[in-house]
Amino acid sequence: MEVIFLLIGISLVLAGGFLGLFFKAMKSGQYDDNYTPSIRILFEQKVNKKEKKTNYKKSK
């Protein structure tokens, strides 16, 4: 049964770690806006836009 001491230690460290991570995420502002990122992810990257456009036109 002594293994429980070890398990408790591990569980507390793990749970505490998650709490800490949650705090970190809060602080970085991740939860301030939970709508805009869902749109932002759909925007295409700007880098090769011109090339892409010409390719698109050709294939058409």
Partner: protein
């Protein structure tokens, strides 16, 4: 059918590429695209030049119409003022500045894309992030090549002019309070979960699951986990309770704080002195649920602002005239006696006298009446009106903070009104008595047992305190009222806080403002007097009113309906007078009596607004436009009268008295010619006679009355638009539901009372055993969370069920 198709085709052809609106006045062809105005085309040019035309691909016609945008070059000059900039900026160092703008025009994915690609327009912008729900954008930029004025000008150039007003400058909102609550909740949740885990063996203490060594260890771990809950998560409750006690009152937080402290200290005593297990898991759970309820309530109200004062309405800057030269200065620096220039669509910032120009002031923002009032030279114009038409110059008579309307905010009556709230609440009253009763019983038990066995006395004393720990009591009110707030919110009625529900339940006098509240421009009642109109004439009229932006033209346009438009020559709007048009070489005039040459019989004034119509100098008739009641309002008043007094206050003259007497019935007290101060005094008189007054108003002129009444409801056509400071904001469309809201607030009061009864029953049973010293830890551990959960379930289900029954909610859950 063919005709319909043609029409559709035409519509597509003449839709602006930028803003998607129909091109009515002009159609500009540019770069193979169609634009409705110069402004839209300019925005397109800027984006085209910078290769940002993806903007038009993300959402169709994403732009904002630029017709009304001001073209004045110097309107952002005030942003060069270091005092203003330092207040607007979030962060500033020699290299970089951060600023957050509120841009009400953000409405689609394209907006987000463009605003986040600002760095392609100007290299100095390092990053920009949009918060779509709050319609805010945070921009970081390098100071070297860009300043705040340049940035705002750039945003205006691409059609996203930020809204900057005085309250932004005066105080910056602090977001951190919201985050702190989440931190506290997270800590409480973490500790609660783990404490439950370590307390598990105790729940089955009869069956020895673990050895003595584990029990001790688990107890100490619980103590360790309880510390952050007690010293961090619960701090808000201590503070609130302490403030209440300091002002010699008892609020809901006093028993909560007392309960938490008792739970904690008794548990410490048990663990370290008597070697037992304590109730720390209960304490963790209590706080976790309390904080959860609090957060839940806060979330619903994030985007609403109830405590607006005049600073959020007024512009931040004014154009001052210094020897014929224009100078843009912040409003706060405006002095009495200075000369200011107010242009079309601009707000008059201070009470002032008209010097020059044709003033036609739209007071819709103040009184709810949108037909502009003409003013002549030398007349005093109150702050809050909006100029329509030519620029005017004015001499400032009073500083902006001391105008006729702004004075209402500084009325001493308001200071008192705020203090009353803390005592009025039902829960606070009951919990006050409850706390004293519990303390009394606990001490009685202590004294009684002490004669026989002192340790037994201590046990009974603490058992009473813990078992009656007001968790259930404390939770019933916030959960019921919180849920009521949410149900109201779903039907577009937003209350400032939970106290308002309780105050609404007591209302016995309802006061309405007339213009803009009971009546609505969209409900205007129009009749044409003077013979019938031929189809040709109506199509001519349609053509004329389409060209005008005057509110009365809009109403006539709506009345005419969707009919073909005649082709007119030389349509011209004469500001303040009417519209001129030539059709088949005949002169058509539509407008005021003097403009059309109409003579009104006698001196008798006709109520409402008239628009006269003449052809070649011969009067054909006139449109009678009367303000119409909002949908279902007559029934609302009937329902409200049921046991309540109803009053109607109007700033207008009493020409419409008879009409309203007919409409609303004889029980309603009608008062006309009421100035904002009169309205405020009237409410105070009603209050002095013992009335619980509910005021429903919309404009700035009601602001004083709204604030001084027990419950002030601001009615607004658009929730996110400005509304005067009030206890509640109601969507104008939902005004007909007001009687239901009032009834439901009474229902929720009854639900609270019922849940109090429920928790009293639990407590009575608990006390019965506790005073005898019979309560075992197991019973406590089971009874306490059970009573809390049952009360929460009861209140939530109860409010949802009644809301469903009353038609305020579509589904029960």
């Amino acid at each position: 059918m063919e005709k319909a198709n043609q029409l559709i085709d035409q519509k597509i052809e003449t839709t602006c590429f930028h803003c998607g609106e129909c091109c009515v006045e002009q159609t500009l062809h540019h770069d193979g695209k169609v634009f409705c105005c110069n402004g839209c085309q300019l925005v397109y040019d800027v984006l085209e030049e910078n290769d940002l035309c993806d903007y038009y691909e993300i959402a169709p016609n994403p732009g904002n119409n630029q017709k009304k945008s001001s073209e004045r070059k110097n309107r952002f000059d005030y942003l060069a003022d270091p005092e203003v900039t330092s207040k607007l900026l979030d962060f500033q160092d020699p290299e970089e500045s951060h600023v957050t703008f509120y841009i009400p025009l953000i409405h689609c994915a394209s907006c987000i894309w463009l605003l986040e690609n600002l760095h392609q327009l100007d290299q100095a912008i390092t990053s920009s992030r949009v918060n779509f729900l709050q319609k805010k954008v945070q921009i970081k930029f390098k100071n070297k090549s860009l300043d705040l004025k340049g940035l705002v000008t750039l945003l205006a150039k691409i059609g996203y002019e930020p809204a900057i007003n005085l309250s932004d400058v005066d105080k910056r909102k602090i977001l951190s309070t919201d985050r702190k609550l989440i931190y506290k909740l997270a800590v409480a949740g973490f500790c609660f979960g783990n404490m439950m885990f370590f307390s598990l063996p105790e729940y089955f203490s009869e069956a020895e699951l673990l050895g003595e060594g584990f029990r001790k260890l688990f107890n100490y771990l619980n103590v360790l986990l309880a510390l952050p809950v007690f010293f961090y998560s619960a701090t808000d409750y201590y503070r609130s309770a302490w403030l209440a006690i300091k002002s010699k009152a008892v609020n809901m937080d006093v028993p909560i704080a007392l309960g938490i402290i008792t739970l904690f200290s008794y548990s410490m005593f048990e663990i370290f002195v008597s070697g037992q297990e304590g109730y720390l898991d209960s304490m963790g759970g209590l706080l976790f649920f309390l904080l959860l309820g609090k957060l839940y309530q806060k979330k619903t109200y994030e985007t609403l602002s109830f405590s607006r004062d005049y600073t959020s309405y007024f512009p931040i800057a004014v154009t001052k005239m210094v020897r014929d030269r224009e100078e843009v200065i912040p409003l706060t620096k405006l002095q009495v006696g200075e000369i200011i220039k107010v242009r079309n669509e601009e707000l008059i910032p201070a009470d002032s006298v008209l010097l020059e120009g044709q003033a036609r002031i739209d007071y819709s923002f103040v009184t709810g009446e949108e037909v502009p009032v003409p003013k002549t030279k030398g007349e005093l114009i109150f702050a809050g009106g909006r100029q329509k038409g030519q620029p005017i110059t004015l001499v400032v008579q009073k500083p902006p903070s001391q105008g006729y309307l702004t004075d209402l905010w500084n009325n001493t009556a308001f200071v008192k009104a705020d203090k009353e709230t803390s005592l009025a609440s039902l829960a606070d009253q009951i919990s006050g008595k409850f706390t004293f009763t519990v303390l009394f019983i606990a001490f009685a038990a202590l004294v009684y047992w002490s004669f026989q066995d002192f340790s037994m006395g201590i046990k009974a004393f603490t058992a009473v305190l813990i078992i009656t720990c007001p968790c259930a009591l404390a939770m019933s009110t916030p959960f019921t009222l919180g849920n009521t707030l949410r149900i109201f919110g779903q039907s577009k009625f937003y209350l400032k806080n939970a106290h308002v529900v309780e105050k609404m339940a007591k209302v016995d006098t309802v006061v309405f403002d007339k213009t803009g509240t009971l009546t609505a421009p969209s409900q205007a009642h129009i009749t044409f007097r003077g013979g019938s109109l031929s189809t040709e004439t109506t199509s001519i009229l349609k053509g004329m009113v389409q060209h005008s932006v005057h509110p009365l033209s809009y109403r006539i346009n709506g009345w005419l309906g969707n009919i073909p438009v005649a082709f007119l020559e030389g349509v011209e709007e004469v500001p303040g007078k009417g519209i001129k048009a030539i059709y088949k070489s005949q002169l058509f005039l539509l407008g005021s009596a003097s403009f059309t040459g109409a003579k009104i019989k006698g001196d008798a004034q006709i109520p409402g607004n008239q628009v006269f119509f003449s052809v070649e100098g011969i009067l054909m008739g006139y449109f009678q436009i009367e303000s119409g009641l909002r949908k279902g309002m007559d029934q609302v008043v009937c329902q409200l009268i049921n046991g309540r007094q109803v009053h109607l206050l109007s700033g207008d003259n009493d020409l419409e008295r008879e009409q309203f007497e007919d409409l609303l019935g004889p029980e309603v007290t009608l008062k006309f010619n009421q100035s904002p101060q009169d309205k405020l005094d009237y409410i105070q008189r009603l209050k002095a006679h013992g009335g619980n007054v509910l005021m429903v108003g919309d404009g700035l002129n009601d602001a004083g009355a709204l604030k001084v009444s027990q419950v002030g409801i601001a009615v607004t056509e658009n929730i996110s638009h400005f509304s005067p400071s009030s206890d509640a904001i109601l969507d104008a469309e939902k005004l007909y539901q007001l009687p239901q809201y009032l009834r439901f607030s009474q229902t929720s009061r009854k639900i609270i009372q019922a849940s109090f009864a429920l928790s009293f029953t639990y407590n009575a049973i608990g006390i019965f055993f506790a005073v005898q010293g019979l309560v075992s830890p197991v019973l406590c551990a089971i009874l306490m969370p059970l009573s809390s959960i049952s009360v929460v379930l009861f209140t939530t289900l109860g409010t949802n069920y009644f809301a469903y029954k009353k038609g305020l909610k579509e589904k029960i859950c």
